[in-house]
Amino acid sequence: MPNAFIRLDAVHKTYRLGETTVPALRGVTLDLHKGEFTAIVGPSGAGKSTLLHLVGCIDEPDRGVVLVEGTDVATLSDDERSRLRNRKIGFIFQSFNLVPVLDARENIELPLLLHGHVSTSERAARVQQALEDVGIAGFAHHLPDRLSGGQRQRVAIARALVTHPLLVLADEPTANLDSATAHHILDLMVELNEKRGVTFLFSTHDEKLIRRVGRVVQISDGLLVDTPSTAARA
């Protein structure tokens, strides 16, 4: 498919649990396009997280190819994959994964520290913008344990956005939040997608959230039920 900046082609991934091997993905092919807001849905163990890990270049397929802007990720060294993640992919985790000893501002600044070409003043400006984008500018100097779950996830979203990535991956970003907060977070992500053109790929099994997403990719037993060509588009 043209214009796909991330492509998974016949990707297989198997995990070994003791003597048993568990197939997580069994020949998944998927294209992701700029500006999309895509949800991967499926029951637990369907392969959602594995798919996100492969797209995020933090895991490697057993077979098949993962292409990011035309580059086969398997041909990159570990350090090159790290740089690729830092420059082009933002991560939002289910458990927020904030560094507890850094305040909100410092957590958001963390991935920018690896951008040697970004000056201190530009870094500060970007962090401030990210804080304002997610609506927690007033909590910039709060440590994570002084923030609510929703606020922590906003910090995590700001951290994912601050590097201006091509794609933001969110692995069940609302799973640890109450229903109202979950919807606020989703509102925020949708707003960022629509107004700022941020590309999102997130996994969830929450039916209420799925209704608000432009594109839904169903996964079950390691196979896509709705292929990219048949998936609904926004």
Binding site: D79, F93, V101
Partner: protein
Amino acid sequence: MSGAWKLAVRNLSRNRRRNLATGLAIALGFAALVVLSGYLRYGERFLRANAVYIQHGGHVAVFREGGLALAWLKPGEYRLTRAEQDTVTATLAADPRVEFSAPFLRGMGLVGNGCRAVPFVGLGVDLAQEQRIMRHREVQYACPDLAQPLAGRELSSYTTVDGAVSLAAGLAKLLGKQRVHDEVPNAVATPPDCAAPDLAARIAADANVQLAAVTYDGAFSAVDAEMVSVVRANSMDTEDTLLLASLPTLQRLYETDGVTYIAAFLHDVRETHAVAADVEARLRALGLRVTTHSFDDERVNPYFVGTMAFLDSMRFFIDLLVMAVVALSMVNATTLSVLERTRELGTLRALGFQRGELRNLFLRETLILTTLALCAGLVVALGAIAVFNATGILVEPPGIPGRVRLRLEPTVVQSAGLALEIALVLLGATWVAVRRQTRTRVVTLLAATSG
């Protein structure tokens, strides 16, 4: 402060009790090593001052070739003649690295009190240079007590007393001589009645002794001498035999104008081997068949060399022990820290941190903790050393009669070297502890329940 250093500082504040314990282990280990290095440095300085000055060996001694071993057996054959002495002295005087030089004559014989004679091992010294040696700053710093006579004044003070000699305390006791020249200045020496009931008191009443020896030509010779001081022997071995005399007195006894060796005393001990080699080469070029021997030559000073080897091995094992303890403390603390932060490491990796950057993060933490601990350790060490030196503890060095005031004197260079050694060991320990975890797959790190 850059972000990475800030993160390192913040991480150190996570588990303060553990980091405090680790820092304490480093600080105390470093303090112990600094104190030990101060003790060993003083020990080396004391031993060197004893070997070079108190034992009159100089930093470099010039012997006739073979004289070091054979001058005792054939003193006439292995002496330095008057002309050779002049050449050696002039050569040494021309070398700016040499502070001064002095001739010495070794010899053996009998010393008697009129009724009893015992063997002595004598050393003839130039009185002017003897004063310079015993009042040298190194002697006054490292072992002033050993340079002070137990009775009487320094031998060099008695330039007008004919046949002035100093006896080691044990030798004086064997002869029953209890009074030195200054205590009985006008005593007239008369041959005692060896059968008299008050013989001991009569012998003790004056400072007169007689020296007897075989001259270099094989004849019998004797001279009258006056015990002007009682001194500490420079080793336990010579406590009952050591006799110091003016060079002319011993030369008269052996009927020679020769000397056994000429010792060179240097400005800087580090020049010893270079001076030894240069002087020997120059003298040989002038036609003299001489050899030079440095004070740290085992054949010259086996006590110095043996003791230093023992101290160095002790230093090595204590260093090893302390390093092992602090390194294990660091490995333990870092391993726990890494395990507690496993998922955080996964997060950082997902955000784009490379393996090396994660390792550097932990290395920064170690560097900060180590620097703080080393500073604390230095303060502890300097405090302990100040208290110790102020107490003025006296010790009896093994193998040397008398007591010396023990000091601890670490140097800046040694302490900095120890600090660097510890820092490198700890950075290495951290690298080992962190390496495995940073090589773990990112998804595995993220799946961890801790951190």
